[in-house]
C-alpha cells in the first residue's frame, strides 16, 4: 500500500462488505483452486511433478492438447467471421426493422438452449444417413470428429462474436466513414480502409473470446468428437469417469487451465486497452447507413440467410422431434414426451429452476456489490479483487467442476451432494457479466449525484438503494438475465456436482441422449428454452412494474 495517509483509507461503512466479499471469494474461488493445484502437484504427501509427467507422456493426452488448440483456433476464425457478417448486416445494411429484430432473435437461440441439442440435431441432419445429405443426394461423410465439432461450435459461439462486434460497429464514429465518402471513396473502399481497420481491435477481442470459449467447451465435443479427435475437456472428464483417475483428470484440467488463462490475459490486458473506440461516448446519429457496396452486401446477405435458415431448420428438427414417438422410426405425433418431462423429469425441472432462481438472486446481489466496490477508487487491492472475482468465469468449467469436487468432498468443508455447492459454483462462475455491466454503468453516473444524496443527509446505504441502484438498473437486469440463462444451461462444471438429491435438466438431457431417447431429450430441451424465455420476460415485466417511468425519465427531451 502506497501511503499511510488516513485520508486514503476505505470508508469504514464499506469494510464489512469488503470482508464478506473476500470471504466468499476466498472460499469459493481460491480454496478449490488451491486444492486442485495441491492434488496435481503432490504424490503421497510430497511435492512432485509425477502426475504432470504421467499425463504429458501419454500420446493421447498430447493429441488432445493440440486438438483443443487447433479446434479453438478454427472455431474462433469461422465464428468471428460469421459473427462479423451478421453484425455488419444488422448495423450497416439498410434492412427493415422486423428483419433486424428477427436476425437478433435467431442469433440468441444458441445462447439459451442447452449445449447438446444443436449437436444432436446436426448429427441427425448431416451425420451418416443424415436428412440433409439424403435431400441433397450428397455422399456420406463422417460428421464425427473435427468437422462436426467445428461446425457445431461455430454455430454455438458465433452469437458471442455477433454481440461484441455489433457494439463495436455501432460505436464507430459515423463521421469517419462520412469523411471517407465525402472525399470520393466508394462504400466498399470505405469499408476496406476505414471501417475494417477500426474494427480490428474488436475483431481480435472477439477472436480471443471465441478461442477461450471453444477451449472450455465440454458438451459439444462430448457428443460430436469421437475417439479420433480427443480434446482436453472430454479427456479430463473421461479420465475421471472412465479410468477412475481423479488425479489424472485434475492434472489434465490443469493443463487446460494454462492456455485458457493466457488467452484471457491477452484479451484483457492487450486487446481491450488498445480499443480505438470509446464505448461510453455518445453514439453518433446513424443518419445514412453505410453499407459495403452492392456486391459485397448481396454476398453477405446470401451467406447470412443460409446460416439463419440452417439454424431455424436445426431448431425445428428439435421441436418436431419432441413431438414424435420414436425419433426416426415412428414419426407419429404424441405428447407423451412432454408428459414424461413433467412427471418423471419433474424433479429435474424443479431442482434446476430452484437452483437457477436462487443463483440469480444471490449472484446479482454479489455481482452488484462487487461491481460497486471495484468501482470505488479508494479501495485497496482493487485490481486483485476484480481479477479474483472473474477467475471462475475465465477458467474452463471442467477445471472449476473438478476443483469443486476435489475441494468440497473432504477436508474442512464438505458440501458434496448439496444444493449449495451447485449454487456457489453458478454464482462464482457467472456473476462476472453482472459485475462488468455494473462497473460500466457506474462509470456513467456523475459522482456528484451520490455526493448530493450524502450531503442531503442520506447514509451510504440509503444512497445506494434510492439513487445509485435505480440508475444502474439496466446493468443489474442484464446480469440477472445472464445468470439465469447460464445457470439453467450449464453442464461442463456441474456435471461433476450432481447427486442423488439434486439433478439438473442439462444432465438429464445428456442421460436421455446417452440412452438414445432423443425424443425425450428434445422435449426436455424445448421445455428448458421455454422456461428461460418466460423467466426473461418475467424479469422485464417486473422491472417495468417497479420503474414504470424509467425510460421516459432518462430520455433526453
Amino acid at each position: 500500500m502506497r501511503s499511510f495517509d488516513k485520508s486514503t483509507r476505505l470508508d469504514p461503512a464499506l469494510v464489512p462488505l469488503w470482508v464478506g466479499l473476500w470471504g466468499f471469494l476466498g472460499l469459493f474461488v481460491l480454496y478449490p483452486l488451491v486444492r486442485l493445484i495441491y492434488i496435481v502437484f503432490t504424490t503421497d504427501g510430497g511435492a512432485s511433478l509425477i502426475n504432470l509427467i504421467k499425463v504429458l507422456t501419454s500420446w493421447y493426452n498430447r493429441k488432445a492438447f493440440f486438438n483443443s488448440l487447433a479446434l479453438a483456433a478454427a472455431v474462433a476464425t469461422t465464428g468471428t467471421f460469421i459473427g462479423f457478417l451478421f453484425a455488419f448486416a444488422v448495423t450497416r445494411i439498410p434492412l427493415p426493422r422486423p428483419v433486424k429484430w428477427f436476425l437478433g432473435a435467431v442469433v440468441v437461440l444458441p445462447f439459451v438452449s442447452p449445449p447438446f441439442t444443436s449437436s444432436i440435431a446436426l448429427t441427425m441432419v448431416l451425420g451418416p444417413n443424415g436428412l440433409l445429405l439424403k435431400l441433397l443426394h450428397a455422399p456420406d461423410f463422417n460428421i464425427y470428429g473435427f468437422w462436426g465439432t467445428w461446425i457445431a461450435e461455430t454455430l454455438t459461439y458465433f452469437p458471442v462474436a455477433f454481440l461484441t462486434l455489433t457494439a463495436v460497429l455501432k460505436a464507430i464514429d459515423p463521421n469517419l466513414e462520412d469523411a471517407a465518402m465525402s472525399m470520393g471513396n466508394t462504400p466498399w473502399g470505405t469499408f476496406r480502409t476505414v471501417t475494417l481497420p477500426l474494427s480490428i481491435p474488436g475483431l481480435a477481442n472477439a477472436f480471443l473470446l471465441l478461442f477461450g470459449s471453444s477451449l472450455a467447451d465440454f458438451a459439444t465435443p462430448l457428443v460430436m468428437a469421437d475417439h479420433t479427435f480427443p480434446v482436453l475437456t472430454t479427456q479430463a472428464y473421461l479420465q475421471i469417469t472412465g479410468m477412475y483417475d481423479i488425479q489424472g483428470g485434475a492434472t489434465i484440467s490443469f493443463i487446460l487451465l494454462v492456455p485458457a488463462l493466457l488467452v484471457y490475459l491477452l484479451q484483457h490486458y492487450w486487446v481491450e486497452q488498445r480499443s480505438y473506440i470509446t464505448i461510453t461516448g455518445k453514439a453518433g446519429a446513424p443518419s445514412v447507413v453505410k453499407g459495403g457496396g452492392f456486391f459485397a452486401e448481396t454476398l453477405m446477405l446470401i451467406i447470412i440467410s443460409a446460416i439463419t435458415l440452417f439454424i431455424i431448420f436445426l431448431y425445428s428438427i428439435i421441436f418436431l422431434g419432441s413431438l414424435m414417438k420414436v425419433w426416426g422410426v415412428d414419426n407419429s405425433f404424441t405428447l407423451e414426451n412432454y408428459v414424461y418431462v413433467f412427471t418423471v423429469g419433474w424433479k429435474a425441472v424443479k431442482d434446476t429452476v430452484l437452483i437457477a432462481v436462487i443463483s440469480t438472486f444471490i449472484g446479482s446481489a454479489i455481482g452488484v456489490t462487487t461491481g460497486y466496490l471495484i468501482n470505488r477508487k479508494d479501495l485497496p487491492w482493487r485490481k486483485t479483487l476484480e481479477f479474483t472475482s472473474l477467475l471462475n468465469y475465465v477458467l474452463p468449467g471442467t477445471v472449476i467442476g473438478i476443483a469443486y469436487a476435489v475441494a468440497f468432498n473432504s477436508g474442512p468443508i464438505v458440501l458434496t451432494g448439496t444444493m449449495s455447492i451447485i449454487v456457489a459454483l453458478c454464482v462464482s462462475r457467472y456473476d462476472a457479466t453482472g459485475i462488468r455491466a455494473t462497473i460500466a454503468s457506474l462509470q456513467q453516473i456523475d459522482p456528484s449525484i451520490e455526493e448530493a444524496s450524502l450531503s442531503l443527509g442520506a447514509s451510504r446505504f440509503t444512497t445506494f438503494f434510492r439513487v445509485t441502484l435505480p440508475l444502474i438498473m439496466p446493468a443489474v437486469i442484464t446480469g440477472m438475465r445472464y445468470l439465469f440463462v447460464v445457470s439453467m444451461t450449464a453442464v461442463s462444471a456441474t456435471i461433476f456436482l450432481v447427486s442423488v438429491r439434486w439433478s439438473l435438466l442439462t444432465i438429464r438431457i445428456l442421460e436421455c441422449i446417452t440412452e438414445l431417447l432423443f425424443a425425450q431429450a428434445a422435449a426436455f430441451s424445448v421445455v428448458l428454452v421455454l422456461i428461460v424465455f418466460i423467466a426473461i420476460g418475467a424479469i422485464a415485466v417486473l422491472f417495468h412494474i417497479i420503474y414504470p417511468n424509467y425510460y421516459r425519465q432518462l430520455r433526453r427531451p
Partner: protein, 337 residues
C-alpha cells in the same frame, strides 16, 4: 443511527449464511440412495417395485459403469449412496481392494448359482447378459451380406466406417466385448484383431448402447452390444438382426453390492434382500427387460434369450477385475493409435 455498517454486515452475512447453511443441512436420510448403470426405464421398474413392496423411497442416479466407479472412489470418505445396483461384476471386483464395498450375503441369494456371486459376499449377480452382434437388416440386404457369425466377419470391407461400439474407457459393454475377444482368441491376438477392427469403426460411443439407435436407424451398419440393448431395439420396432460369433462370447453379470460406509445400511440390506428374490427377477419379463435372470427358478419365455445355441465362454471375473485398467490401457495404446 449507524445504518451504514450494520446493514452491510447483515446483507453479507445473510448471503454467506444461505449458501453454507443449505450445505450443512445434510440431515439423516430416511430414504435409500443408489447408483445404477441400468437404463432409466429398467431402473425405474425395479426401484418403484421396491418402493411399492416396502414403502421405502429410493433416490437413484444413473451413470455409466466407469462413472459409478469414479464417483464411489471420490466419495469414499463421505459416501453419497447406500447401494450400487446393476453394475458389471468385474467393476465390483475392481472396487473391492479399493475398499468401496462391504460384504453382505443377502437372504434369498441361496438360489443363485455360485458362478454368479462373489465368494466373500461382496457382490451378488442379478442378471446375465451376453455380448452379441446387432446389424441393420436393410444394410445387410442392400450390401448382399449375411449377418456375421464370426469375429473375423466384422473385418469385411463392406463395414468400413460403418461399425459403432462402446468406448472402453467409460463403458462396461466395451470391457465385455474385449473380454469376449480375449477369451475367443487369446490376449495378444485379441489386440492385433482389434487394431484391424478399428479401421471399420465409425465411432466409439460413451455408453454401451450408444450405437444401437444409429444402427437401428441406418446411420451405421452394425456393432457389438449387450443382448439386452439389441433386443430393446427389436422391441421398439426397428428391423435389426442379432447374431453371435461361433468363436464365442462372454456373458456379463449384472450385480449389486453394499457400499462401505453407507449412511443407511439397514435400508440397503433390505433392498439387497428384496432384490435377490425371484420376485424381483420376475419383473424383467413383466417389464420387457430383456435380461436373463440369474436365479434359475425364474423361467423366461422370450426365444431371443435362449442361449442354448450360443457359444458362451467362461470368464474368470477376478482376473477381469484385476486386469481391467491394464486392458484399457492396452486398448488406448494399441487400438486407438
Amino acid at each position: 443511527m449507524e445504518k451504514n455498517g450494520v446493514m452491510g454486515k447483515v446483507v453479507t452475512l445473510a448471503i454467506l449464511g444461505t449458501i453454507l447453511l443449505s450445505g450443512i443441512a445434510t440431515a439423516a436420510q430416511p430414504e435409500l440412495n443408489a447408483y445404477t448403470i441400468w437404463s432409466e426405464r429398467y431402473a425405474q421398474a425395479i426401484f418403484s417395485a421396491f418402493t411399492k413392496d416396502t414403502g421405502i423411497k429410493v433416490n437413484w442416479m444413473r451413470f455409466s459403469s466407469g462413472e459409478v466407479q469414479a464417483r464411489l472412489e471420490a466419495e469414499q470418505k463421505n459416501p453419497q449412496v447406500d447401494v450400487v445396483f446393476g453394475n458389471m461384476a468385474e467393476a465390483f471386483v475392481n472396487g473391492i481392494p479399493k475398499g468401496l464395498f462391504e460384504p453382505y450375503k443377502p437372504q434369498g441369494a441361496e438360489r443363485i448359482p455360485d458362478t454368479f456371486k462373489d465368494t466373500d459376499g461382496y457382490w451378488t449377480g442379478v442378471a446375465i447378459d451376453p455380448i452379441c452382434f446387432m446389424f441393420n437388416t436393410k444394410f445387410l440386404k442392400d450390401h448382399n451380406v449375411e449377418a456375421p457369425t464370426s469375429w473375423q466377419d466384422l473385418l469385411r470391407p463392406e463395414y468400413k466406417s460403418q461399425l459403432q461400439m462402446a468406448d472402453a474407457r467409460t463403458s462396461g459393454t466395451a470391457m465385455y466385448r474385449i473380454l469376449s475377444i480375449i477369451e475367443a482368441m487369446g490376449e495378444d491376438e485379441a489386440y492385433i484383431y482389434q487394431k484391424k477392427l478399428n479401421d471399420n469403426v465409425q465411432i466409439y460411443t460413451k455408453s454401451g448402447a450408444g450405437g444401437a439407435l444409429p444402427i437401428a436407424r441406418g446411420q451405421a451398419a452394425g456393432g457389438i452390444f449387450f443382448l439386452v440393448d439389441a433386443l430393446e431395439m427389436q422391441q421398439k420396432g426397428y428391423d435389426v438382426t442379432i447374431s453371435y460369433p461361433k468363436e464365442g462370447v462372454v456373458a456379463g453379470i449384472e450385480a449389486m453390492a453394499l457400499v462401505k460406509g453407507a449412511k443407511s445400511p439397514d435400508l440397503a440390506k433390505k433392498f439387497l434382500d428384496w432384490a435377490s428374490t425371484e420376485r424381483m427377477q420376475r419383473i424383467y419379463e413383466g417389464s420387457q427387460i430383456n435380461l436373463i435372470p440369474s436365479n434359475p427358478d425364474v423361467k423366461i419365455s422370450n426365444p431371443g434369450l435362449d442361449m442354448s445355441k450360443v457359444n458362451v465362454l467362461p470368464l474368470d471375473i477376478k482376473w477381469a477385475g484385476d486386469n481391467r485398467d491394464r486392458l484399457v490401457e492396452r486398448w488406448i495404446n494399441e487400438v486407438l493409435r
